[in-house]
Symmetry: C2
Subunit: 194 residues, 2 copies
DNA sequence: TGTACATCAGTGAACGCGCGTTCACTGATGTAC
DNA sequence: TGTACATCAGTGAACGCGCGTTCACTGATGTAC
């Protein structure tokens, strides 16, 4: 199971290829993620991945799946670190959202980029849902009973996703925690009756 | 100047290549944008573009430049169409923002994607500024005198950019104008003393 | 108005590159009996 | 416990593809005089 020897059979090649893909992604950007390079980094021949993934698209899907789980974990960690009030938790996951994006630039672009939503593409992996569930839970305290929670969820998600995207795109300038907190202050006005 | 004949000299190849690139982008996605295909679509040999652009990166920069101008025009048009109050203008450009993203998926990803902000890349083209200026002007009425306008600008920009990005990524589901207006309603709480 | 010449903007052939994929193969594993 | 055999997970060579780039070239344009 946890063998890492070098016999003919790798033993955990699937996981090794995913890990290699993530490394390539972060070190060389989206274009560095190819089947051949993943195979080389995992120490197998370039034809080996065909036994585990349905082409490059299949590998990317598996990488995105793993990425979404790490993304969720990053938000949960940030949630647990801050103020335990509902408002504090909500801001906490937003801080985790931004932290993940900054620490995993290329992965973030893979998770939300063109390819993942292209017309011909199979669609977003199931794991995308686990992140949304965290968001949804943290928004719940601010939803008026009987009303649709979706509006508040999308307000919060848009705000933090936009900030993270613009930050990665270099549009907000260097890291500015004070500015980010000012933007998050808008969340104090979410869900109140104004 | 406006010649479109077929002599040895094209006359306006630079513009033709940019137009070809935009067509390829929208019809085939980011990967369809190559020097050779642009040249073919413009009706010249594949070596011709080298006389006008510094490689593929140079062509992309020129395409992004044109894209940012169209983006701004789209916002200005939407601003002019709606309620002329400050709040109405602000929401107007947000509607233009979303409309542009939806009508120019691949271009939108080019303008804000990984490549445009990659470490080795030269940076965002100057034209990116013209869009921000529109946003800044529409935010100005809500900035308290003497305070930094940046906080409100980034709040608004994050909200609309996030919504547009998530919409393109297929995360918000099918087009839902009512939901979008609910999200924009958060702008009613921007810049007030709460 | 005419000529010589430099410069510019194309052509088309050729290059090497990394890619995904296919194929026959082989060693290792697992199962039936 | 031992044997036969099917299946699985790798190897390595080969394929064709489209890409960016280079190169010598040539036709058209523009300028000096």
């Amino acid at each position: 199971m946890t063998e890492e020897k070098k016999p003919h059979h790798h033993g955990a090649l699937r996981e090794a290829l995913i890990a290699a893909g993530i490394r390539l992604l972060e070190q060389g950007g989206p274009d560095a993620l190819t089947l051949r390079r993943c195979a080389a980094l995992a120490g197998v021949s370039h034809a080996a991945p065909a036994h585990h993934f349905d082409g490059l698209a299949g590998l990317k899907l598996a990488i995105a799946d793993e990425g979404f789980r790490r993304f969720r974990d990053c938000m949960l960690t940030a949630e647990a670190q801050g103020d335990p009030s509902p408002r504090g938790r909500l801001k906490g996951i937003c801080r985790g959202y931004l932290a993940f994006a900054r620490a995993n630039r290329a992965m973030f672009h893979l998770l939300f980029g063109y390819e993942m939503s292209a017309p011909h593409h199979g669609g977003v992996p199931d794991a995308a849902r686990v992140g949304y569930d965290v968001l949804s839970r943290c928004c719940a305290p601010f939803v008026s009973p009987g009303s649709d929670p979706r509006a508040i969820e999308i307000q919060v998600w848009s705000l933090i996703h936009g900030y993270a995207s613009l930050s990665l795109a270099g549009r907000i300038g260097p890291d500015d925690p004070a500015l980010f907190e000012q933007v998050l202050a808008l969340l104090d006005r979410v869900g109140n009756a104004s």
